[in-house]
């Protein structure tokens, strides 16, 4: 991983390399996360949620939301431990889905965090001015009061923009102080609530009715308060500045959820038991105050100092959240500038402070503008919606990155129970997003408008200017077939030595599929990680030669296209090419040896596992005549494709295919003849081409290996076992392929539904 981004200084004649200072501790980043989460959400949320779902609903809302948030936090934690760079969701989407999606992710991230920041600035101003008015220090009303509130919001936003400009350490220290202050205050409120309930158990009657409006209202309150758990976003942004990021980022994310959920549940409990003798059910009384319900309840709980304590806590909470959101939004726009998705100025770092001052300037502009002029509550609902979309996307990213690049990444954390947490989070977040529509229709205007503007900017600005990342697969030379009309075969060539045998075998498939078959030949140029991708052309000579060899055989008769690409990982390159070219069949070679820990090899294993088309892997298949072909048969899902391949590979005049089945003693054998009677007409080959053969043996592998000695070619279907299970447990087809001394073809048929999912994932 690159250690830090660079900036070209415009003020100096020579380039100055500047990078972030790495000095944020685990406590600091945890507190930044907690600070962003608690924000103002809990204070506004308790009263509003009580109104809708009742006293039990509030407690359940926070507890259940914490579980879903933890699922997403684990996705963030895993990805942050593998990609510890400023940018968070933008970086994850860049690696998982490419430039377009990542730009939109970063664009949403920037907006959501900036607008959330302005909401916190306004919350601070409202509570502070209200308190000062109560004390008689401020005497204003009407429009004057609004002006004072706006002025206070701008002042506090400006103050935290300055703190962020001073440096990450100052930001972290300020964040830690403010967050510790608010957490201690809230913990104190929770403890007083518990002590009161113990001293006066009659107050527990406030929990009746537990869910006055029914269970379904729980979904509304969960949707409304879910974003109060968004703080792990800011932790992901600290990848360039945290000490030991692979260890500390995931820890901070999960710790922050733990701290926050107990705080939320504790203060909600205190608010419910705090109310007494008000002449109506507690939940109706608290709910009637809406956003101020929490404050009113705590004033009842602690009559002498509740009001001042809540005010101070809200001031602490909103300022620490403001600090964290400015930090997060700045890093999101910095990352876009770093990769030239936005103008390079966004990535300029201050030579002394080492903070992205230009990104901070633009972010500060948004925060102050929104706080000054726009109806913040509705715009903040849009921000909430975009946070939900972001979390949705990140959960997809974690699945895709694991599937496609798991062996290339260095993970500091892998989530337990994968893939249950991200899938559960995706499903529940989708439901909550739908419920959010009912809460704020304006959010569905503001949010999509911002996304559409992002798409326009990407289309006309970022797409042409975006920098290439080290993980991208880059096309070196390409002569593609314009459009796919017929059956398309993708042949993956590694070197001139395997070009001719693969071309000849491909030719046989072409003959079987008809004259309009299209052939795409691809050569992946693996570039070692220590060599820059710009130097990749030095490694391309063997590939060029291989393509020319194949072209000589195939191009005169069939539609022919060729591509050379360079990449860090050959398997990923081949899989993406097969999906991109919409290949029906992928042909590749295998030299017969493997790296430790793989079934067939570091390239063949993932290709067989993840390719979205039929795959045929050829081992030692030179220019021999295939008179006798053996197909070991166990009735698996690849049996039909194995028989089809056998019928194509066998010499049509005088060749024969033996379908061989080994059953353990005492167990019934499979009825091969019935299967062949059914399959031969489907394959449009004479039934007489196939013969069946049975054996009874405890040692299936040994018996099949013994049988292979009498044949010219062995064709076997690959296992459907997942890759990891194969590596750990082993599977018969793969072991057979390794030990077979005869030419061998291993095939795997496309599974339509799985292929569709794989194409997207």
């Amino acid at each position: 991983m690159a250690t830090g981004p660079e900036k070209e200084s415009k003020t100096e004649h020579h380039k100055i390399s500047t990078e972030f200072s790495r000095n944020l501790t685990l406590l600091q980043i945890t507190m930044m996360g907690v600070g962003m989460m608690i924000g103002a959400g809990v204070f506004l949320g308790v009263g509003n949620a009580m109104k809708v779902a009742g006293p039990g609903g509030v407690i359940l809302t926070f507890a259940l939301n914490a579980v879903i948030a933890l699922f997403t936090a684990m996705s963030y934690a895993e990805l942050s431990s593998a990609i510890p760079k400023a940018g968070g969701a933008y970086n994850f989407a860049r690696i998982a889905f490419g430039r377009g999606t990542s730009f939109i992710a970063g664009w949403m991230e920037w907006f959501a965090s900036s607008v959330a920041g302005s909401l916190y600035a306004v919350t601070f101003a409202l509570y502070t001015v209200h308190y000062l008015t109560q004390l008689g220090i401020i005497q204003a009303s009407g429009f004057q009061l609004i002006l004072v509130e706006k002025g206070a919001a701008i002042l506090i936003a400006g103050f935290f923009i300055y703190i962020n400009y001073r440096g990450a350490s100052e930001t972290g220290t300020m964040g830690t102080i403010f967050t510790l202050g608010q957490t201690v205050s809230l913990a104190f409120i929770a403890l007083v609530g518990i002590a009161t309930a113990i001293a006066d158990p009659a107050r527990l009657a406030n929990f009746q009715p537990f869910l006055p409006n029914g269970w379904d209202k729980l979904l509304i309150t969960m949707g409304f308060t879910y974003v109060a758990f968004e703080g792990f976003e800011v932790i992901a942004q600290a990848g360039d500045e945290a000490i030991e990021p692979r260890r500390n980022l995931p820890k901070a994310m999960i710790y922050s959820i733990l701290i926050v959920v107990f705080t939320y549940v504790g203060v909600a409990f205190a608010a419910i038991v705090g109310v007494k003798d008000i002449g109506q059910p507690a939940w109706i009384w608290i709910g009637s105050y809406g956003g101020k319900g929490f404050g009113e309840a705590i004033s009842q709980l602690m009559p002498s100092y509740g009001s001042i304590l809540v005010t101070i806590t809200v001031i602490f909470a909103s300022t620490s959240a403001l600090n964290a959101t400015i930090y997060s939004a700045t890093r999101a726009s910095y990352a876009l500038g770093r990769d030239r998705m936005l103008p390079g100025a966004f990535s300029w770092l201050h030579p002394k402070r080492r903070t992205p001052y230009m990104a901070l300037l633009f972010t500060g502009g948004i925060v102050i503008s929104v706080a000054s002029f726009l109806p913040t509550i509705d715009v903040a609902s849009s921000a909430s919606m975009m946070f939900l979309f972001l979390f949705f996307l990140v959960n997809f990213c974690v699945i895709r990155v694991r599937r496609q690049m798991g062996d290339e990444m260095t993970y500091g954390f892998v989530m337990p129970l994968f893939p249950i947490p991200p899938i559960a989070a995706i499903l529940i977040q989708a439901t909550l997003a739908v419920w959010l529509i009912h809460m704020s229709p304006i959010a569905w205007v503001v949010g999509p408008t911002w996304v559409v503007s992002g798409i326009v900017i990407y289309r006309f600005y970022s797409k042409q200017r975006a920098r290439r990342t080290e993980d991208e697969i880059v096309v070196l030379k390409e002569q593609p077939i314009p459009s796919k009309d017929e059956y398309r075969i993708l042949v993956s060539l590694a070197n001139p030595a395997n070009a001719v045998p693969l071309a000849l075998n491909c030719y046989k498939f072409c003959q079987a599929k008809g004259d309009r078959t299209e052939i795409e030949v691809i050569n992946m140029v693996p570039v070692p990680s220590q060599v820059p991708l710009s130097e990749a052309s030095k490694y391309s000579h063997a590939g060029e030669e291989a393509i020319i060899e194949a072209m000589l055989y195939l191009a005169p008769r069939y539609k022919f296209g060729s591509t050379m690409r360079y990449c860090r990982n050959v398997a990923r390159g081949i899989i993406s090419a097969a999906a991109q070219h919409k290949a029906d069949l992928l042909i590749m070679g295998w030299q017969g040896y493997r790296r430790k820990g793989f079934s067939l090899g570091s390239t063949v294993d993932p290709v067989l596992e993840r390719a979205t088309c039929n795959v045929a892997v050829f081992k030692d298949c030179k220019q021999q005549k295939n008179m006798n072909v053996l197909v070991p048969f166990a009735g698996g899902p690849n049996a039909t494709f194995a028989l089809e391949t056998a019928s194509i590979m066998v010499e049509q005049d005088g060749g024969r295919i033996i379908v061989f089945h080994v059953a353990p003693p005492g167990k019934p054998t499979q009825d091969i003849d019935a299967f062949l009677d059914e399959i031969a007409p489907q394959l449009k080959v004479p039934r007489s081409l196939f013969e069946s053969k049975y054996a009874i043996s405890r040692e299936r592998l040994k018996t099949i290996l013994e049988e292979t000695k009498h044949y010219d070619l062995v064709i076997i279907g690959a296992t459907r076992d997942p890759l990891f299970r194969q590596r750990v447990m082993g599977s018969l087809p793969e072991i057979l392929a390794r030990h077979c001394k005869k030419p061998l073809v291993m095939v795997k048929a496309k599974h339509h539904i799985r292929s569709l999912i794989k194409r997207w994932m």
């Binding site: 507890a63 798991g406 062996d407 993970y411």
Partner: protein, 74 residues
């Protein structure tokens, strides 16, 4: 007779409502405890995984999974 019947049905209804309320509280408490326990367990489990990985050194997914399957991991 009729009034006795209606009194009896009202009593039953009240008992049923009371039972449902109690049931809501019981389910609610169970759900809350389960949710909070899940958060605690997953947090501790994740922490343990992080420490195990860093006790050796961060690595590829395959390496980490192998450690876990071998039983000396998380």
């Amino acid at each position: 007779m009729l009034s006795v019947l209606s009194y009896s049905s009202q009593k039953k209804k009240r008992r049923r409502v009371r039972f449902l309320l109690d049931l809501n509280i019981i389910i609610g408490i169970i759900l809350t405890v389960m949710a909070l326990s899940t958060v605690v367990i997953l947090t501790l489990w994740s922490r343990r995984i992080i420490e195990r990985i860093h006790a050796r050194s961060p690595g590829s997914l395959r390496k980490i999974q192998k450690d876990i399957i071998n039983g000396d991991g998380a």
